[in-house]
């Protein structure tokens, strides 16, 4: 059966993994530890969706304020037997879920999602890149962002969570409030949509 794991069996497996880790929980995080360990994660999440530092920092701060006020609902942090963090991090998922709601508030106040422009990030230029290559790469990246902006918001969010934010599928599922299997299906549809919308950018290995 290993080669045909069903979603249910996977959920059960994940649940089992989670439960086993709950027996080896690290102590509840303080607000300060939470800010130190996840400050960059939340900022990166908000920045990728807002596109400029000021808004990203404001939303990030709002997210942490809400988190600090609800520390009791912060999930425990599972570790493995050697006390190392495991890849599935429910605290990160919990925080990004809050950030997602704060982000929705942010856009609701502005009502202009489409006017967002990406703040230019100085690129590290290697000596073997010509100015033309750098410009071409920047243009390509801008087109990819435009492509994702045109996608169904659910597709866009799932793709960003999975591939830009580096969340596991189970974390994406937690953040989006879906089952793991539904999230997996969503990701498949999102990838397909991205390929169609972008032309060649996501077809390298097809």
């Amino acid at each position: 059966m290993n080669n045909s794991l069903t979603a249910n069996s996977l959920r059960t497996a994940l649940k089992g993994i989670f439960q086993s880790h709950t027996q080896n929980l690290s102590p509840t995080l303080s607000a300060r530890a939470l800010a130190e360990q996840y400050g960059e994660v939340v900022f990166a999440y908000t920045f990728r969706r807002i596109g400029h530092r000021e808004g990203a920092e404001d939303v990030s701060a709002e997210c942490f304020i809400a988190a600090f006020q609800n520390l009791r609902s912060c999930p425990p942090r599972p570790t493995d037997s050697t006390n190392n963090l495991i890849s599935h991090d429910p605290i990160r998922a919990w925080l990004l879920g809050i950030a997602r709601r704060k982000l929705a508030d942010y856009w609701r106040k502005r009502k202009r999602h489409s006017e967002v422009s990406w703040e230019g990030i100085p690129e590290r230029v290697s000596s073997d890149c010509t100015p033309e290559q750098i410009a071409l790469r920047a243009e390509t990246q801008a087109k990819i962002r435009e492509t994702l902006d045109r996608l169904n918001p659910d597709y866009r969010e799932a793709l960003l969570l999975r591939y830009a934010d580096g969340c596991s599928v189970s974390e994406v599922a937690l953040i989006l409030g879906r089952s793991v299997s539904a999230t997996d299906s969503l990701l498949q549809r999102a990838r397909a949509a991205a390929r169609i919308a972008s032309g060649d950018y996501f077809s390298e290995f097809e």
């Binding site: 290993n2 794991l5 130190e36 000021e54 920092e57 890849s87 591939y163 990838r191």
Partner: protein, 533 residues
């Protein structure tokens, strides 16, 4: 064999080319800059407060964070806190940031501890030019409207006996300003004098603060042989309230406040100003708390032959000032510099506004107001020399192609005999190397007495500036009454938890606004006669 789908679900995407491609493309297209230190500090402050509140459930919930906006506007927090703490405690107040940073747990504890103080003894010394001069010694009581504060100003080697120059005493709602040198005392019973340890006073000082600044917590260190928590308060651009016009323009200020970890009370603050490319210590304050106040300090029967003035002297002075100088404007020349005195405003509060213009490109002069009768400086610029009314400068006034400036002289010195004798405005151009006591030798010095230009714009200046001040005071009072301060200053509520009912806390503001409104009305009435002259 594991299917592609299952591979995804199992989060093992390292060998899946599709996953790898999407990950590479999207991560490259959504590059995120590193977190700024400002944001990191902001989160740390929020977290500190949250942790503090979780360990102190009785603390009030945190106000919502304000938008980041201009970093310079984030001020009313820590400063206010420290101000609250210090102000409240009589230590020199320096502001607090406007947003959540003001809610720093340490500051909260300091504020809370300061609110419980019964008495405070403050010693302030100013290390001008390498010397250590006691500038002020003060006792404060928390008793509202009864025994207020006593303070001496004088000069001497630090921690040695010193000569008292002035004594200010607030007692039973009356203010006594005693000059030991002139042997005069001015009595002012028209103002509301809350205890300088009261919530009302602390609130006022919070509002007086620029509402923009920053506070950080420094590592603990030994201060004066004692283990201390430390706060760093930074004011990017401020005007140090040191000697008159010690600095021509706004300079960065920073204060390091040492807090006793046992009592949570600040016991020493060192304030530095950034000047000529380096930080320079400008004053130090040391505080002791809950000591019995020496009763002799609150004896208002001052020695020597006394002259007692009421506040009517200030009003008369205001009238005399205008009458004397309402002739024509004067141009003061000093070497290659010149300044044109355009207008002089004396308010019944005793403040004097000197409106003068300078050619474009001219350095800002040090401006002093001098009483020729007693040869003493009666008004201190308080560092507030410069463009105090920039809106007016932009909108209204470019007289003769020159830029208009305003020097505001606060009446914080005793009023002496103003009968007879004139007044002069002194302009000092060039480097200023020290305070009043140093008899700084300016490169260029000139003086001019009086002037009211006959042009119409002078009237506009007076009206606008007076009304603007009145409006600002009104806004303060109204913001306080209608609760707008809650949105501005999360910390203010902490400063206000205690002593006074809300209505009483607003009295000072209300009173001040009313007084300045009267001044504006009075100026309006007086203008036609001025113009007739």
């Amino acid at each position: 064999m594991i299917s592609k789908k299952d591979n995804n679900v199992a989060d093992t995407n390292s060998e899946n080319p599709t996953e790898t491609l999407f990950e590479r493309v999207l991560s490259e297209s959504y590059v995120v800059p590193p977190v700024s230190s400002a944001h990191r500090n902001r989160l740390a402050q929020l977290a500190t407060e949250a942790d503090f509140r979780s360990s102190h459930p009785q603390a009030k919930p945190q106000a919502s964070i304000t938008s980041r906006r201009n970093p310079l506007t984030n001020w009313l927090t820590a400063s206010v806190l420290v101000a609250t703490a210090f102000v409240g405690v009589g230590i020199y107040v320096i502001f607090a940031p406007r947003k959540a940073s003001a809610s720093d747990a340490l500051i909260l504890r300091v504020t809370s501890a300061a609110a419980k103080v019964k008495t405070a003894h403050i010693l302030e010394w100013r290390p001008f030019n390498g010397t250590q001069e006691v500038y002020r010694e003060a006792w404060y009581s928390a008793e509202v409207g009864k025994t207020g504060a006593w303070c001496k100003k004088g000069y001497a080697p630090y921690k040695g006996p010193y000569t008292v120059s002035y004594t200010n005493l607030w007692k039973n709602g009356i203010a006594y300003y005693y000059s030991a040198t002139a042997k005069t005392v001015q009595i002012d019973n028209t103002q509301y004098f809350p205890s300088l340890l009261s919530a009302s006073d602390r609130l006022q000082r919070l509002y007086e603060a620029d509402l923009s600044g920053r506070v950080r917590i420094l590592p603990e260190a030994m201060v004066e042989g004692k283990r201390a928590k430390r706060l760093l308060i930074e004011l990017p651009n401020s005007r140090p309230d040191t000697e008159p016009a010690f600095y021509h323009e706004s300079v960065p200020l920073r204060a390091i406040v040492a807090v006793d970890p046992k009592t949570d009370l600040p016991f020493r603050t060192e304030t530095e100003a950034y000047h000529n490319g380096q930080w320079k210590l400008v004053w130090v304050e040391e505080a002791q708390y809950n000591l019995p106040i020496p009763t002799e300090h609150f004896d208002h029967r001052f020695p020597g032959s006394q002259k007692v003035y009421s506040v009517d002297a200030q009003k008369r002075f205001s009238q005399q000032m205008r009458a004397t100088m309402a002739k024509s404007y004067r141009v003061a020349k000093a070497g290659r510099f010149h300044a044109t005195l355009r207008y002089l405003i004396g308010t019944e509060l005793g403040d004097v506004y000197v409106l003068y213009s300078l050619p474009k490109g001219s350095p800002l002069p040090k401006v002093l107001l001098r009483d020729q009768t007693t040869r003493t400086w009666h008004y201190m610029g308080g560092g507030r020399v410069g463009r105090i009314v920039p809106e007016l400068e932009q909108r209204w006034i470019q007289p003769d192609g020159e830029r208009l400036y305003t020097a505001w002289f606060r009446n914080n010195e005793p009023m002496t005999d103003r009968e007879g004798g004139g007044w002069k405005i002194h302009f000092h151009f060039g480097e200023v190397g020290g305070g009043m006591s140093d008899k700084v030798s300016p490169v260029w010095e000139t003086s001019v007495s009086g002037a009211v230009p006959p042009d119409d714009f002078s009237r506009e200046i007076v009206w606008e500036s007076a009304e603007e001040i009145a409006s600002a005071c009104r806004n303060r009072a109204e913001a306080f009454r209608d609760g707008r301060w809650k949105a501005d200053i999360g910390l203010l509520r902490i400063a206000l938890t205690g002593e006074l009912p809300v209505k009483q806390r607003a009295i000072f503001w209300d009173s001040e606004a009313t007084r300045i409104e009267r001044t504006a009305a009075e100026l309006r009435k007086s203008l036609p006669s001025n113009r007739a002259q």
